[in-house]
């Protein structure tokens, strides 16, 4: 009740001083300290907020780092029924071998980081919050001072007004006496609190600086420790798994990445299932058109269908639409194809079977005719990897340019070519004429 009474008594003055009708006194010295104090208040708040953001970010970093590693590991491990990923993808063997170690390393990191973050919470965030609490009590004192100042000004104003009044009535005289008393009390109270603040402020400011020094030092070492932890774990992982993590510019990482990027990108892009279906009936028409185009090649429909890119009657395919007809299933291919020589197809070496699984290359043609020399130099580009199956075969990788020495009428045949100084025969349907 007392508080409400006081607030009511102060309101008229607050209004009149705002609109400039009554004088408000100010103390420049105090105002200076006060400004400073306000900036410290804001700083404390910002410190608490940013420290929280920081710890949250650190936690998320390590959490999602571990999760990332976990999911990456799943992707690089056989999924339900798959087997021998390393055999199928020798290029990725390094990754496949080390992915589990990576997962463990990041998992360990995540566990190591928790105490560090707790340290920040108790040793930095805690004290910072206490500082804020201290500041709140000071803020209370400041508010009290404001009130006392209002009282002081209020009585001061009334007193001056009454004193300046020419003819004072009896009650005015009485009031004057009362006001003088009130004014004296208000003055004393205000002076007391104002002086206390002015006296303690410099001391407080100094303490704040002393406070922030060790706090900052601790915080610094905690941050440094987090980076150190990360660095050390990464180093030991890289050491163990033979990764070169010497500090290189970011552009170098991009460059190395680009150079390692395989044709998997374009192969995926070329899959039929990643293209939008516009109309199923149109697809059916297309596949029929392709089927018709292949009819002349008689009984080998199944095997030729895999060579969409190689089969001559491509006109019907390209004219139908930009949509690439669906390649036939690998399974039906290996079933329906005539048994290839050397029992190639499914059970050659792991490398070829990998290539077979990867790109479903057509089976090599059944017969090897004797090579006949031809004069003109022509090049063909390899569409698939081909590994030599016997002496006299020409091995190559997809994309290689092979000098064509001898070719026959049919692509379903063994052609002769030269690559890197070696000459040998290869299946004609593995290449595309330039």
């Amino acid at each position: 009740m007392k508080g409400i009474g006081k607030a009511l008594a102060r309101t008229p003055f607050a209004v009149t001083s705002k609109i400039g009708m009554s004088k408000k006194s100010s103390d420049p010295e105090f105002d200076d300290y006060h400004r400073h104090f306000v900036s410290l208040e804001k700083a404390a708040e910002a410190l608490i907020k940013d420290t929280k953001t920081y710890t949250d970010a650190v936690m998320t970093l390590f959490m999602s780092g571990a999760n990332f590693a976990g999911h990456f590991a799943v992707i690089f491990q056989p999924i339900a029924g798959e087997y021998d990923l390393i055999g199928k993808h020798p290029d990725a063997a390094h990754t496949i071998r080390n992915i589990t170690k990576y997962e463990t390393a990041l998992q360990e990191m995540k566990e190591l980081i928790t105490p560090e973050v707790e340290l920040i919470e108790t040793r930095i965030l805690g004290p910072a919050k206490e500082l804020q609490a201290v500041m709140k009590t000071i803020r209370k004192t400041i508010t009290k001072r404001e009130h006392k100042l209002t009282d002081y000004d209020r009585f001061n104003n009334s007193l001056t007004k009454l004193r300046d009044k020419k003819d004072k009535s009896l009650s005015d005289e009485k009031n004057l006496f009362k006001l003088e008393q009130d004014f004296e009390i208000a003055t004393n109270e205000y002076e007391y609190i104002n002086n206390a603040l002015k006296q303690d402020f410099p001391r407080f400011m100094m303490l704040v600086t002393q406070f922030i020094d060790p706090l900052f030092d601790s915080f610094f070492y905690m941050q440094l420790n987090i980076y150190y932890l990360l660095l050390e774990k990464m180093n030991s992982f890289a050491d163990e798994c033979k990764y070169d993590i010497s500090n290189t510019p970011g552009a170098q990482i991009v460059q190395d990445y680009e150079s390692k990027r395989t044709d998997a990108w374009s192969l995926i892009e070329n899959l039929g299932i990643v293209k939008r279906i516009i109309s199923v009936s149109r697809l059916v028409q297309q596949s029929r058109a392709q089927g018709l185009g292949r009819q002349p090649s008689a009984s080998t429909t199944a095997s030729t269908s895999g060579l969409k890119a190689v089969t001559p009657p491509a006109r019907s395919v390209s004219s139908a639409s930009s949509y690439k007809g669906p390649p036939p299933p690998t399974s039906s291919l290996s079933q329906a194809a005539p048994p290839p020589p050397y029992s190639a197809g499914s059970s050659v070496g792991s490398a070829t079977s990998a290539a077979a699984a990867k790109r479903a290359p057509p089976p090599p043609p059944p017969l090897k005719p004797k090579p006949k020399p031809t004069p003109q130099v022509k090049y063909v580009v390899a569409l698939y990897d081909f590994a030599a199956q016997t002496d006299g075969d020409l091995s190559f990788n997809a994309g290689d340019r092979i000098e064509l020495v001898e070719k026959t009428e049919s692509a379903e045949d063994w052609w002769t070519g030269r690559l890197n100084g070696a000459q040998g025969v290869f299946p004609g349907n593995y290449v595309q004429e330039t």
Binding site: L40, K42, A43, L47, D50, T51, T53, Y54, A57, L61, S64, G65, F68, H71, F72, I75, F76, I79, G81, L85, K88, H89, D91, P127, I138, A196, Q199, D200, F204, T209, I212, P214, F216, D217, S218, F220, Y221, Q223, L224, L230, L231, M234, A238, I245, G250, I253, Y257, K260, W265, I268, L271, I273, V274, I277, V280, L283, P326, P327, T330, A357
Partner: protein, 264 residues
């Protein structure tokens, strides 16, 4: 939905119901089911990967920018005292190094992260809706096929008066089968290919990720540890011995005892 589409979905709903009650035989395609199950795992993992990689990246950024802001706040605190004090000098050095870290980070790692992690993942994840559309289409065509087949069987078992009915049913059955086979064969052929290609597709990202993580740690550590030069010699040991915490506590206590804090 178009009228034709509506009719189709009503018919299919009927087929599903009849299948549930056992009136129409349902085609069981183990081969497809297996491939789809594997694909689903892959899809889920990839999406999780995308989410986590984004969180990881954002956290890295949040870390450095929070440090930058903390450094700024420290300057305010030191502004209270003279700027040439040892602490203020260290604070200033700290600010310089975390600002440096913040800019290096975005300058050096922004593009690599996007090229090596976000883009491949984003591209892969963008394929899923399309593939799922193929699967949905296939499932719908399977229903059509099942229903057409059961109609045909009934007609064969119980020949109708109308002689044109059987050939028509036969033709419908063939068409449905063709559509379904086409979609189904494509999925069965290409889903394993897609799954298999994931390895070479994501392989280079792994090394890039490791290198970026290492780079982040190394830059952070190197830049920050340089600040130590500005510290008094005993600070490191004091920190290790927990002295600094005691100092902080002591000063807080002193503050509380100030008369303006009501400590009197």
């Amino acid at each position: 939905m178009s009228w034709a589409g509506f009719k189709k979905s009503v018919n299919r709903a009927g087929t599903t119901l009849l299948q549930k009650t056992g009136q129409i035989e349902r085609t069981v395609d183990r081969e497809f089911a297996d491939e789809e199950a594997k694909y689903r795992i892959f899809e889920k993992e990839c999406q999780a990967l995308q989410k986590d990689s984004k969180a990881y990246w954002d956290a890295m950024k949040a870390m450095t920018s929070a440090q930058s802001r903390i450094a700024e706040t420290l300057e305010t605190f030191y502004g209270a005292a003279d700027r040439s004090s040892e602490g203020a000098m260290a604070g200033h050095a700290y600010k310089r190094s975390v600002d440096d870290l913040d800019t290096t980070f975005s300058r050096e790692l922004d593009v690599p992260f996007r090229t090596t992690i976000s883009e491949p993942l984003g591209k892969m994840c963008a394929y899923y809706p399309v593939i799922n559309e193929h699967i949905t289409k296939r499932n719908k065509k399977l229903l059509d096929y099942d229903s057409a087949r059961s109609k045909l069987r009934k007609l064969i078992d119980k020949p109708s008066e109308d002689p044109t009915k059987l050939p028509r049913a036969q033709q419908e059955h063939d068409e449905c089968k063709e559509m379904f086979d086409m979609l189904n064969d494509q999925l069965i052929a290409e889903l394993p290919q897609l799954l298999d290609l994931r390895v070479p597709y994501f392989d280079p990202s792994f090394e890039a990720m490791i290198r970026m993580q290492a780079k982040f740690a190394e830059e952070g550590y190197e830049k920050l540890s340089g600040v130590q030069r500005y510290f008094a010699d005993n600070v490191r040991d004091d920190y290790a011995a927990g002295q600094l915490d005691a100092q902080v506590e002591g000063i807080l206590q002193e503050m509380r005892e100030l008369s303006i804090c009501g400590g009197n």
